[in-house]
Symmetry: C2
Subunit: 249 residues, 2 copies
């Protein structure tokens, strides 16, 4: 990458990724990151602009206090490593951490200068089932139609795994939250269809009926579609084209 | 729909869907389907062209003989219902059933005139793990790159749930089959990354290395991409545009 920078005639700014505890990418916090920074700091085509981490394990925490604690721990790890680099004479202007969950405690994350909260724009069942948000905070919704009612307490909708994805969430059942009937469970998905189960004594569904679903995992839905329809006050106001559609690989 | 046909000035050909045992859509086999056919047969804007079913439960069968038996059962159910309609004077030119699994026994499915075998074009781990095909029969492959080797026996690739989907298969572990190293397990996916685990004594991976993955469920992958690259004899020969991309809803 340094060679690319040299060819371009400018230093390419880069973050060093620090493993935030998820064991995926990046250097280990502390000495390992410092050693790596020292190896690359004098390369002519790059410039270290900061440290970056992602503590994805926060999505396995069970309660608000555990989430807060994990967020603070990620911040402390980042700050300690940044301080180590600074003591060695390496400038670290940006310390980038966080997630949509830790963004709820942004003011407590000492030393962090930037939080990357990707899911924040939509929210989903993941955050809802952890008690961190309300239904009204969930901006992405899938409008589906009941296409079959094969038996009492059983209905089929026209959204399956190709729309809702098969992502599940540790603290909720099924494949999404039905706004009109939170007690209905989407218990199974085929590619084109979702299977609903409910108590026929309290819920009645009919073919053609619309149901609004908050997806389990909002991040993986928009890229499945050409566009999202923007609503304001219950009224569709614009079509938003999805530039990232089909850009997975 | 009959009114639409009348407006168009022609009879719209339609299949009556018969529940193939998956409990999703369609009428029940036998009398229920006959009654429905009798209700609609004289509508002026439609024309019954056949019966159609899908016996998706075949994908839960454990062995070749169980699969064969379920395929034959679906065919018998369809044939009996078609015969019932014919006795009542309703013409049933097309009897459409099947799946990629039952297509393996096509010549045994008496009375069936058409098999819809969607997965047949690609095949995947679903059929591989059931012993119905070989690795060479799997035409859809995802080429990935190792981007991190954080610990011995652990590597990260640049394909996650947005590429491979989180679909799992009842008779295999993990999220795909790695052609070069079938013993490596893709044990976890985040959106952008796959987590591999392997025995470091027998397998060695390095950053930048390519791995070829047969997906668990081929049906849900092509629509995630703009195009597929067609290979012949190991050489890329054409780019195939995916017309269905973004057409989920």
């Amino acid at each position: 990458m340094s060679e690319v920078g040299e060819r371009l005639g400018r230093r390419i700014p880069l973050y060093i990724e620090v493993d935030g505890g998820i064991g995926r990418c990046g250097r280990q916090p502390g000495e390992d990151t410092l050693q790596f920074a020292q190896q690359i700091r004098n390369l002519p085509g790059i410039e270290i602009t900061g440290l970056l981490s992602y503590a994805g394990q926060i999505y396995s925490e069970e309660g608000r206090e555990e989430i807060r604690s994990t967020a603070r721990q990620e911040a402390a790890t980042l700050k300690n490593t940044a301080d180590l680099l600074r003591k060695a004479g390496i400038d670290v202007p940006v310390v980038s951490g966080g997630s949509s969950l830790s963004s709820k405690f942004a003011q407590e994350l000492e030393g962090v200068t930037e939080i990357r909260a990707g899911n924040y724009i939509f929210h989903d069942v993941g955050q809802l089932s952890m008690g961190m948000i309300t239904v009204d905070d969930c901006a992405l919704r899938v409008i589906t139609t009941v296409v079959s009612v094969p038996a009492p307490g059983r209905a089929i909708i026209d959204a399956g795994s190709k729309t809702l994805t098969t992502d599940t969430m540790p603290f909720s059942k099924g494949f999404g939250y039905i706004v009109e009937h939170p007690d209905i469970e989407i218990f199974k998905l085929n590619e084109e269809h979702g299977f609903l189960s409910y108590d026929p004594a309290s819920v009645s569904l009919h073919i053609g009926q619309h149901l609004t679903i908050i997806p389990n995992h909002a991040c993986v839905l928009p890229n499945l579609c050409d566009e999202i329809v923007g609503f304001r006050g219950g009224v569709p106001v614009e079509k938003i084209r999805i530039d990232a559609r089909g850009k997975n690989s």
